[in-house]
Amino acid sequence: MAALSSPQNRTLISSATLSRRKGRIVYRIVLTVVLVVFTLVFIGPLYWMVTGGLKSASEVVANPPSYFPKHPKPGTYHTAWTQLKLARLLFNTLYYAFGALLFQLVFDVAAAYAVSKLRPVFGNVILAGMLATLMIPSAVLIVPQYVTVLDLPLLHFNLIGTPWAIWLPTVANGFNIFLLKRFFDSIPNDLMHAASIDGAGPLRTLWSIILPMSRPILGVVSIFAVVNVWKDFLWPMLVEPDPDKQPINLGINSLSQGVPENVIIAALAISAVPTLLIFLLFQRNIMSGLTAGSLKG
């Protein structure tokens, strides 16, 4: 019945209640209130940030605050860009994010493919060990991880200050392995057999059969890989102490001392642009990825 009246599943309040006069009025009121409140609460601060970057140094700290910049000064954005070296910081962030993405895609996809389709002896034990890391609170591991990066076991490399310190630890991501493995499991094994009868090795099968079918999940993993690097704070603060090598999230915080408020706010607005753009472009994939890992109630 619900399917007939609308594609949406039936919820708390029935369509019949809503179509009554009183129901319609209440619904209109609730909808309007929600739209106004949500727009104010979630867009309001962003509006304040963008316009704050256009205000002068004195207007930004004026009491009472002004809702519109009196004499918009786009020059503040330029000052923020040069003074806080935002181009450098943005480049660093991109470099870390896409490096991490590359390593995660190559290593995590290969590992998930191995445990899902090639199924070597002890594969399940290794998988269990990878998934078990999801239970360990990450803050607990910060100290030993730092020591490990300081002096890599066996090889004795010091990774501090190098991008490797950010790239490699992101591969050890149990959640990625979990998502990828579950997706690969849903691809029928018959396709694998058919490929191997045609003489394709495991690498060829992965490349020509599994990967093209896995685009949705690869998209989800990629977005999360990029966003996680973009949002990380404590770890890059520890392993990239040089302000010139820091990602933007951290660099703004370390470089913001002694800089006028309006310049910082302009810098914040600039730093928000890339991830917000990623989100608006890929919001469908992000939303589906968010629920891909959760359980059905």
């Binding site: 029935s14 601060p45 962003l46 493919y113 090639l118 076991p153």
Partner: protein, 320 residues
């Protein structure tokens, strides 16, 4: 190492079979199996090395470091000294109290609010996509940008929040500058920044509830609240309890928000969390052994907590 055990496995499986003319074929199959396994391990090796270096080995090392001290490049075993030192730190209990306070506030605000918002969004027939994007927008903001922005809003001299309160003739607040309100101010900012992901997860769970259940409740004459209580909550219980656990574990590890918003310890150490204290020990006082020891306390508390929690939720599921 693992590869060498492969022949054993295969021979065991065929142990009962008499040796006969097909033995050669079997050996060929066996070597093919070994090479297939080797190939599979080849695919695994990159990830396994990363897990070993950055996850499995650090876990072991966390324990080892807690009982070690490093002075002038010489590492020595010191037994319980590190654990003893952190335990008797004058701020040990302050940090735990603040962490519990943060988690408590985060549950009252950060756990209930997204569920409430998700229920409302699920009822609306219009603008769903727009509202969903709105709620998730702050999640995509770099946390430092969100944090510094809120710090600006909280300012008692020129901040927007006190201005709004004043216009509405409500009492203003010192927000981050007072030890009484610093922690709740951090939680409010953190909730704004992160509630989007929880909301969307709840929304997905709500949309999976079969509509017939609500129709049946309607026929029984159930009101709005009793429908929420008897249908919505039981139907989303799995997600709710999982998210509750995840949120408690996550909020007990709070660092970034108190660091950016309150400069770490906050006025009169009112926002000093356990993880901030770990950071101070390890990277301010350069005492990694004590930092690891404090981490061990945190691990212990979280493990005991999750254990008890899973136990409780399992028994309550059996009862219900």
């Amino acid at each position: 190492m693992a590869a060498t055990t492969v022949p054993e496995n295969t021979t065991k499986r065929h142990a009962g079979r008499p040796a006969g003319p097909d033995r050669r074929g079997e050996r060929r199959g066996l070597s093919r199996k070994v090479s297939a396994n080797l190939q599979a391990y080849g695919f695994l090796v990159g990830a396994v090395i990363c897990f070993l270096a950055f996850s499995w080995y650090p876990m072991v090392r966390e324990f080892i470091m807690s009982f070690q001290d490093k002075k002038r490049g010489v590492t020595s075993w010191v037994g319980m000294k590190n654990l003893d030192r952190v335990y008797h730190d004058p701020f040990f209990w302050t940090a735990w109290k603040n962490t519990a306070e943060y988690t408590g506030y985060a549950l009252v605000i950060g756990f209930a609010l997204p569920f409430f918002v998700a229920i409302i969004l699920n009822e609306l027939r219009h603008a769903q996509a727009y509202l969903r994007i709105l709620v998730y927008l702050p999640v995509m903001l770099p946390p430092v940008a969100g944090g510094l922005l809120f710090k600006y809003f909280y300012d008692p001299d020129y901040g927007l929040f006190d201005h709004i309160l004043k216009t509405l003739h409500l009492p203003t607040s010192q927000w981050l500058d007072s030890s009484h309100t610093a922690m709740i101010s951090v939680v409010i900012a953190a909730t704004w920044m992160s509630m989007g992901s929880a909301t969307l997860i709840y929304l997905a769970a709500l949309q999976n509830i079969p509509g017939e259940l609500y129709e049946a409740a309607d026929l029984d004459g159930a009101g709005l609240w009793s429908k929420i209580w008897h249908v919505t909550i039981p139907q989303t219980r799995m997600v709710l309890s999982l998210m509750l656990l995840m949120q408690i574990v996550a909020t007990m590890q709070e660092f970034t928000n108190v660091f950016v918003l309150a400069g770490g310890n906050g006025p009169e150490n009112s926002t000093m969390t356990v993880v901030y204290m770990i950071y101070q020990y390890g990277f301010r006082y350069n005492n990694l052994g004590s930092a690891a020891a404090l981490g061990l306390f945190l691990l212990l508390v979280l493990v005991v907590f999750s254990g008890v929690y899973t136990r409780l939720s399992r028994t309550s599921e059996q009862d219900g």
